[in-house]
């Protein structure tokens, strides 16, 4: 008997209905976001593909269907809790405590990181700014890499971005370094799911910010959702620029402003701060997207700070 896969729009409708039923407080907003995203012709198929990946990745790391849904709720509620605190204090909760504190509280917590990463993957389906970011990455960074590209991801997390560069491009190679052991294992599962063998990708545990790139030259670097998590993003950018291929090499990043998470250390209040960071480090911004963050149904008060997320495609620039 042939079993037909559900049509993309069915899969998406089922997910939206599941979220709305299980989590009423965020469900209505999620449905509204999906309604908005459906206007994009590529969305249903892409969303179904990501949902399928999230389900299979969740299964690979021990989450059943309810666990995958809970992971999404965990991601949303964690953001809301942190954001509620940030709106009162004007500072990220763990900014003064530093990286080692965050490593102990967040990155070393296997249960939390499993949930956080699967939830983040699902947010790429549902949050318009995350989906936009993903599409910018898919359509502007990935295809620009040469067929035999060497790609490095600083903090690859669940592995979606790095795997997107390698899947369907058998001559490309990738390296991911992550400070969370959970993420190293999870990204390994992602690569297996996507048919990317260990001969083509190296994933290791470590501090990606301090990782010795030696004399390697990379065609692509991914530092997305990284700069706000590290203590000295300026020094990091200066250091890694030397290893980006001059001319054609591209670094992809996305950095949020005024958006709290437990492991956010550096508060960017305006997107110009981020642009300045790149230019001061010698990068040239080739292309960018300002992505308005959804508010999970909360009306933003007048005069409230921007919550733009800035996605940047940068080259190594002309400075020696």
């Amino acid at each position: 008997m042939t079993v037909l896969a559900p049509a993309p729009s069915d899969r998406l409708a089922r997910f939206t209905a599941d979220v709305e039923k299980a989590f009423p407080i965020i469900g209505r907003t999620v449905s509204a976001y999906v309604g908005e995203l459906r206007n994009r012709p590529e969305y249903p198929a892409e969303a179904a593909r990501l949902l399928d990946l999230a389900d299979r990745l969740g299964g690979a790391v021990g989450l059943d269907a309810d666990g995958v849904l809970d992971a999404f709720a965990e991601f949303c509620l964690t953001f809301l809790r942190e954001q509620e605190e940030f709106l009162k204090t004007g500072e990220y909760r763990n900014a003064a405590r530093g990286f080692e504190h965050v490593r102990a509280e967040v990155y070393d917590d296997d249960e939390y990181m499993t949930s956080y990463m699967v939830g983040h993957l699902l947010s790429c389906v549902v949050f318009p700014h995350h989906f936009e970011q993903f599409r910018f990455f898919q359509t502007r960074f990935v295809p620009a890499l040469p067929g035999d590209a060497n790609v490095f991801e600083f903090g690859q997390g669940h592995g979606l971005w790095l795997s997107e560069c390698l899947a369907g491009h058998p001559a490309r190679r990738g390296t991911g370094v992550d400070v969370s052991p959970t993420c190293v294992a999870m990204a390994g599962e992602m690569m297996k799911l996507r048919g990317i063998g260990p001969d083509r990708v190296s994933l290791s545990y470590g501090d990606a910010v301090r990782y010795d790139l030696g004399g390697m030259v990379y065609d692509g670097m991914i530092a997305s959702g990284l700069l706000e998590h590290i203590e000295d993003p300026a020094a990091f950018l200066v250091r890694v620029r030397k290893n980006l291929r001059p001319g054609s090499g591209r670094l992809f990043t996305m950095v949020p402003t005024n958006t709290a998470h437990p492991d956010h250390l550096v508060l960017f209040r305006e997107t110009d701060e981020i642009r300045r960071l790149f230019r001061d480090a010698g990068f040239a911004i080739v292309e960018e997207r300002d992505l308005e963050q959804g508010t999970l149904g909360v009306e933003r008060p007048a005069g409230a700070a921007s919550r733009l997320h800035l996605a940047i495609l940068a080259s190594a620039g002309d400075k020696p």
Binding site: F23, I25, Q83, E84
Partner: protein, 85 residues
């Protein structure tokens, strides 16, 4: 009115800025002005502080009505080692 219900109602009146708000076990976010996802968190954080509890995020997300919240408080209060505020 049981004390848990009274406490939750007092908190809700303050958080949702509705001094005459009357909650029933069936009250949902749809029934109360200004109850959105962020004020929901403010409300829950206040409930946690008042009762000296800490709920899991998935528990908070799954709440459908005030009755669910009351049962959640009772469940956590019954645990031998509950988080303190």
């Amino acid at each position: 009115m049981d004390p848990i219900h009274q406490t939750i109602q007092d908190i809700a009146r303050r958080v949702f800025e509705s001094p005459d708000l009357v909650l029933t076990d069936e009250t949902t976010a749809n029934d109360v002005d200004k109850w959105d996802s962020l004020t929901h968190i403010t409300f829950i954080v206040e409930v946690e502080k008042r009762f000296g509890l800490k709920f899991r995020n998935a528990e908070i997300a799954r709440l459908q009505c005030i009755g669910d919240l009351k049962r959640l408080v009772e469940k956590h209060q019954a645990r031998p080692n509950r988080a303190s505020a």
